[in-house]
Symmetry: none
Subunit: 207 residues, 4 copies
Amino acid sequence: MLSKGEGQVAMTPSGGLRADARRNRARILAAAGEVFAERGASAATEEVARRAGVAIGTVFRHFPTKDDLLRALMKDLLERLTEQVGRLAADGDPATALFDFFASLVEQAAARKSVVELLATAGTDVQVTAAVQSLRDGIARLLTRAQQAGAVRADVQAGEVMALLTSTGQGALQGGWDIELQARALAVIFAGLRAPAAAVRPASPRA
Amino acid sequence: MLSKGEGQVAMTPSGGLRADARRNRARILAAAGEVFAERGASAATEEVARRAGVAIGTVFRHFPTKDDLLRALMKDLLERLTEQVGRLAADGDPATALFDFFASLVEQAAARKSVVELLATAGTDVQVTAAVQSLRDGIARLLTRAQQAGAVRADVQAGEVMALLTSTGQGALQGGWDIELQARALAVIFAGLRAPAAAVRPASPRA
Amino acid sequence: MLSKGEGQVAMTPSGGLRADARRNRARILAAAGEVFAERGASAATEEVARRAGVAIGTVFRHFPTKDDLLRALMKDLLERLTEQVGRLAADGDPATALFDFFASLVEQAAARKSVVELLATAGTDVQVTAAVQSLRDGIARLLTRAQQAGAVRADVQAGEVMALLTSTGQGALQGGWDIELQARALAVIFAGLRAPAAAVRPASPRA
Amino acid sequence: MLSKGEGQVAMTPSGGLRADARRNRARILAAAGEVFAERGASAATEEVARRAGVAIGTVFRHFPTKDDLLRALMKDLLERLTEQVGRLAADGDPATALFDFFASLVEQAAARKSVVELLATAGTDVQVTAAVQSLRDGIARLLTRAQQAGAVRADVQAGEVMALLTSTGQGALQGGWDIELQARALAVIFAGLRAPAAAVRPASPRA
DNA sequence: GATGAATGAGAGTTCATTCAT
DNA sequence: AATGAATGAACTCTCATTCAT
């Protein structure tokens, strides 16, 4: 899944397209979102076409490869998340914005099946990498503000926040966490972000 | 992957089998471990056969379904982990055993590709469910002891420990965490387990 | 390729067309010539459109079927060849004109990929059949004159000249004959045309 | 068609295969011969499977790629031709063997559709190249003997004999030559091989 | 019991052709 | 008339599973 960087996106995602083409592109992305959410990334492209109400050829005209479709979906998702992060950085309470975002992502993941399955495969494609970077930047900003507000301890870095974010999302998704489990797991992580640096040994290679 | 509960394992895993049959079963499991670790659960069963040095028919005689093979692999893994937990509960330092185990799992996950991909899909099959339960029990024991030693705060439950365990493992795996990132992410979680209960709102449904 | 006779050419090739339409028709034919020459008759029609600088719909408006396009191309080619034959019949040296034409065709074939691939599929379409007939007539004239000049022996007929012409062209094309091989192969055929009728058995059905 | 050299033939064509596998392989090759003969190389592989009375998967197990099937077919054909040449070189009349073989090939080509379509695409694959070389060697031997018998003039080389052979075969095939046309065309070529070297200009680049 | 060839449903992808804009 | 998006049949290839040897 999500191999190489070939296949280039052949068209401006929302640029000079005919009205119907743009409509179809959106429909396909929406359908793909649903389908891959329900059935995982291995769902058939034909199902996406059916759900979008177009013929299979149309899907392939817009996304020459299944990979391209997956990539576009991921880019879309990342952009939406980045936007959300941006809003929180502007309006949100510095002390809670990071936690709110974290919680919201886990919640989404528990509902949709591929959100994080996709997030986890970043680094494949230029456009996607850029989108991931944007998200990471936004999160870094949330983090800094939370640290300035004293809500997160100073030595936490954006890297581990991202890492915990994606893995918790992934876990919520595949484990089918109920809302209470979500809350409890997040409580641990939030406490960990907030607590004064505990002197914990890193992974001890034996055990 | 790992669907339904059909296909029940058809033979006593180690019961009345001819010597060569038992040897083949072990070989296949080992090969499957490697192959699925390298290529993920979508790897071809034929590759497993090749790696095990048997014909494809032999694989299917032992595991009537690919799902059965995957389940058996999972059961195997869970048993090994449970054993490890048992040893830690007996010999380990109450204050650190839980952390050690957590760290060790994340580490394994970063190396092998399906360990947690499998763990995350628990709940499918009677035998597997039982194995999961054993592991959960072991972890609960580690947890209790850590709490008694004052290393983990009192209101943490085994559920979220398991949840964080699998999701962090999964994340380490798919995200390709380097050793430093592993350490930093674990530090957050460990701090969270140890810290006095922070007053954190659970997932706020909007955001 | 070049099936049936359906799809009849729907428009007067150069009749009452708007200026831009006529220009497009010419462009498309030129592009088709290049594309099919490079990639063979199985090249995609869309590539022809791209090369011609028009949209795919325009190609199909001018040539309702890919076959029609191929046929039109063939007719064009045959007309050009017929013209060439006509010039040779008027101005050329009776003793060498036939050989010159033969050589020139083989040469062209070695360079362009579909010239003879097309020639060889004659007989499909009224208009094309007519064009083939014209060419055959021209060649017959060259032949007669060569025979009168004593350069070709008397019992050779136009049929086998055409046949050798197309097959040698085809061969030169697909075999990638270099210029020396072309010369040697032609030398054999030319000698055969010129030689006094050898008493050769026709194809003996066994071997 | 017939691209690259990948796809390697994965199994000894007639070596250590199970009886049924060997039988199927032969059946598939035979069916492929017929199908491609009738419909050309662009015929569907599924039709080959149907004609051979096996499932499509079986075809792909024996020939992992359509190209592999085509290549195998070609190798087969070349081997049969080489054998025929060998027999003629041993038993045949030196003065007529070359002509007989030439005639026999043209005749076969007129009947089967892909014989020469394939021959013409030689040079693609190691195994095939070797087979072509064998055929060329056999023909060279026929040629030498014919020259020694005084039936072919001395300066003719094997290269142009092969070239004329394939192109005439191709032509007979695609042109649908009737038996009389075959005889007449061959008569020209045979006379050309036999005649004292005529002083013919090679292809004159204008005309 | 082991072997490995056969099966056949399905997946991704291409492309001639149609038709709304 | 031109455009170019949509269509959908067809094609090659994969792989879990069955079954004759």
